[in-house]
């Protein structure tokens, strides 16, 4: 074994030991080795857990403050979790240690700069987006947005997009100045967002109009509105930009959409009340809020090929660097990961 491998293995062992001490509750099941290219982190709202998934199984589950909602990650594998009822953001380090940042509002949507230098928080009932410092939660800036800001996502050139659920719009924020520089009218009840840097598009899942708005972010205009299933609550785009997956919350399915044709190519049954979704390679991972599991959807065969049980009420899911490699990624800004 080479030096780097030895160091990495040492890190893993150290991490595991520290995790056992730092984490209030740890469950380990299934294979612990072969992490694969990416791990996943899932937040369960009623269960108040963040679960780490690798190689198709839950490796660890960390108890967090009550009613966590959204999870985001930076390039180093640090996790950020919002607590709408708890006036707080939890920050979980790759070694499993957690700390709380205060938030004076109803924290829901989250976006984090890949290098972890700034956290953007949507204040649901405060109708604003706040930039806070990762060190202590100090407010660094804020901007008024449309009503009931839901999910946030970072684009390019310092742009931050906000789904303004009750204003039927997507707000565009220049994060350097914390100014809302534009707003685009979308469908009814915009909730989830996914940004594709290849086509420079923003995909918007509209909960009440049962469709997805496609925004050309370079041109600042609406490209198309694509019908989806009942209550689209989550959206993800593949790394190559070719496929989009939308969760149809009221149909217990996902719609797979072709990015060129902008039409549904398949509807795949998953669990009950699917919400968050992330795509890694040829697979989509879907958080089934009611079924308390993650559906693994094979995007080639267009079938659900597995279900991973997690704590009650999984809502939000994000890709993170594998735990074993987290230390080697620290400080390297990988734009794809913070989304």
């Amino acid at each position: 074994m080479n030096a780097a491998g030895t160091i990495r293995r040492g890190f893993v062992q150290r991490m595991r030991r520290r995790a056992m001490l730092a984490i209030a509750l740890v469950t380990v099941s299934g294979p612990v080795g072969s992490a694969g290219a990416q791990d996943l982190a899932v937040v369960s709202q009623q269960g108040a857990r963040v679960s780490r998934i690798a190689a198709g199984a839950v490796r660890a589950a960390l108890a967090v403050t009550a009613s966590p909602a959204v999870v985001a990650a930076d390039a180093s594998g640090r996790l950020y979790i919002s607590h709408p009822d708890g006036h707080a953001i939890t920050v979980v380090a790759p070694d499993g240690s957690a700390r709380h940042l205060p938030f004076a509002g109803q924290a829901f949507g989250l976006a984090v700069e890949p290098d972890g230098r700034a956290i953007y928080v949507g204040d649901w009932s405060g109708n604003r987006v706040v930039r806070i410092a990762p060190s202590d939660g100090a407010v660094e800036g804020e901007v008024a947005v449309g009503r009931d800001p839901a999910h946030l996502t970072l684009g390019e050139d310092g742009r931050l997009y906000v789904a303004e659920r009750e204003s039927r719009s997507v707000g565009v924020i220049d994060t350097r100045r914390m100014v809302r520089v534009a707003a685009l009218s979308v469908g009814d009840g915009p909730f989830a967002l996914a940004y594709d840097p290849i086509r420079r598009r923003l995909y918007v899942a509209n909960v009440r109009s049962n469709d997805m708005t496609v925004i050309d972010t370079a041109g600042g205009r609406i490209l198309a509105t694509v019908p989806a299933g009942p209550s689209p609550y989550g959206v993800a785009v593949s790394a190559d930009g070719a496929r989009i997956v939308v969760t149809d919350q009221h149909a217990a399915s996902v719609s797979v959409i072709n990015a060129d044709a902008l039409s549904i190519t398949a509807t795949v049954p998953v669990g009950k009340y699917p919400e968050g979704v992330v795509i890694r390679g040829d697979r989509a991972y879907v958080a089934n809020w009611f079924s308390d599991d993650i559906a693994i959807v094979d995007l080639t065969s267009l079938t659900t090929v597995g279900r991973i049980p997690v704590a009650e009420g999984p809502r939000s899911i994000v890709a993170v660097p594998p735990a074993a490699a987290a230390s080697t990624l620290a400080g390297r800004a990988t734009p794809g990961i913070a989304r």
């Binding site: 009623q46 709408p84 109803q106 829901f108 009932s125 009750e166 009221h250 809020w289 009611f290 009420g313």
Partner: protein, 177 residues
């Protein structure tokens, strides 16, 4: 304490329109019925027919039939009206899904919900599952106890459980006559 609740809910009802909080809650009730799924579906399937089996329901006005877009206005015996719209109605599969249009905190202390009712075979009889997702009555950060997640869970589970009890009595009572 209990006696003060209805008045309080009534006062607060006006402020909650279109509120969708960030923390959804589950409601899930099931019942087994000694009758085959077709017989159960005949009673429970018609969207506007809830008044025939739910003991808490005083009156129903239904429009649009058993199809997407169908609406039922359900007036409860204790007061308050639930306006519910069909998202999906699948007769052959014995299931329908619907969601609340406008909150009425006097009827149920929740600001919005969606729900699905499904009849499946269970041995010689049937199992009926009535489940859904809802948001508490006050979706702000500091809800009153009467409009909290816990109050919503209690009210929604009770409403669904009462309904399924009534459905079971209606179907099984009819079968033995």
């Amino acid at each position: 304490m209990r006696r003060t609740v209805p008045a309080l809910l009534f006062v607060l009802a006006a402020g909650a329109a279109l509120a969708h909080g960030p923390t959804p809650q589950k409601v899930d009730q099931t019942v087994t019925i000694h009758a085959n799924p077709d017989a159960v579906w005949k009673v429970v399937g018609p969207f506007g027919g809830i008044g025939a089996w739910h003991p808490d329901v005083a009156k129903v006005e239904a429009t649009g039939g058993d199809a997407e877009g169908g609406v039922r206005k359900v007036t409860l015996k204790k007061g308050g009206t639930l306006v519910e719209g069909l998202d999906e109605w699948k007769g052959p599969e014995h299931t329908y899904s619907y969601r609340m249009s406008d909150p009425d905190l006097k009827a149920l202390p929740v600001s919005s919900y969606s729900a699905t009712l499904t009849v499946t075979p269970d041995g010689d009889g049937s199992k009926v599952e009535w489940m859904g997702r809802f948001y508490r009555g006050d979706t702000g950060n500091e809800p009153l106890e009467e409009l909290s997640d816990a109050a919503g869970r209690e009210a929604m589970n009770r409403y669904f459980a009462d309904g399924l009890k009534g459905l079971k009595a209606k179907v099984e009572g009819g079968a033995t006559q």
